[in-house]
């Protein structure tokens, strides 16, 4: 049980670090959004899963109405909030950036540029 928790923590920390570094490695906002959104969501899934696994381990001894089971449930709700809101806000930022005239750097093709109606 403990080794699973440690593995999940290491994976989650690694992806969160890569997401933060990707913000500096990439040239423009769209590619930065790639790094920021994907890596932090994936890392968050693993870190919250580690918290949930560790607190599920105490259910057998303390029963359903202990603080630990509430911890599991609320961690799960927080995870659902992260997974739902993260891609949506990334989409909002990308759309706003393109409408305000930020061009994708080093782009080989931009279908959206010709199709703009307004």
């Amino acid at each position: 049980m403990n080794s699973i928790v440690y593995t999940f923590i290491v994976i989650g920390c690694f992806f969160n670090l890569v997401g933060s570094i990707g913000l500096h490695r990439f040239p423009d906002i769209y590619t930065r959004l790639h790094a920021a959104t994907k890596c932090t969501t994936f890392g968050s899934i693993f870190l919250v899963a580690a918290v949930m696994i560790q607190s599920v381990g105490t259910w057998g001894t303390e029963g359903m109405s202990s603080p630990q089971s509430v911890l599991t449930l609320h961690a799960f709700i927080a995870l659902v909030c992260i997974v739902l809101t993260n891609p949506t806000s990334a989409h909002a930022i990308a759309r706003a950036a393109h409408r305000s005239g930020v061009k994708p750097a080093r782009a080989v093709v931009d279908d959206l540029e010709g199709d703009r109606h307004d």
Partner: protein, 83 residues
């Protein structure tokens, strides 16, 4: 075992903060802000496990939803140029 993880996430937040301060224009800054919001939510969950306090997780849920609304609002501002 959870406190070192929280410190590590704090280091990640500092790295993103550099992008928030440098970021050439407003869109790049808001990408940094969005990343920081996600990392803060995760570190609150981790701190809740460290201190075994459920209230940290409730704050994390509310923070996740409110930061989402904030991001949408700033995106709207960048799009139109006014509130």
């Amino acid at each position: 075992m959870w406190l070192p993880v929280a410190v590590f996430l704090g280091v990640c937040i500092l790295i993103c903060l550099v992008r928030l301060i440098l970021g050439p224009k407003a869109p790049s800054r808001i990408v940094g802000l969005d990343t920081i919001n996600t990392l803060v939510v995760v570190s609150m969950v981790v701190l809740g496990a460290a201190f075994e306090q459920v209230i940290f997780l409730d704050v994390a849920i509310v923070y996740a939803l409110l930061s989402f609304v904030t991001t949408l609002y700033i995106a709207k501002y960048i799009e139109k140029g006014k509130f």
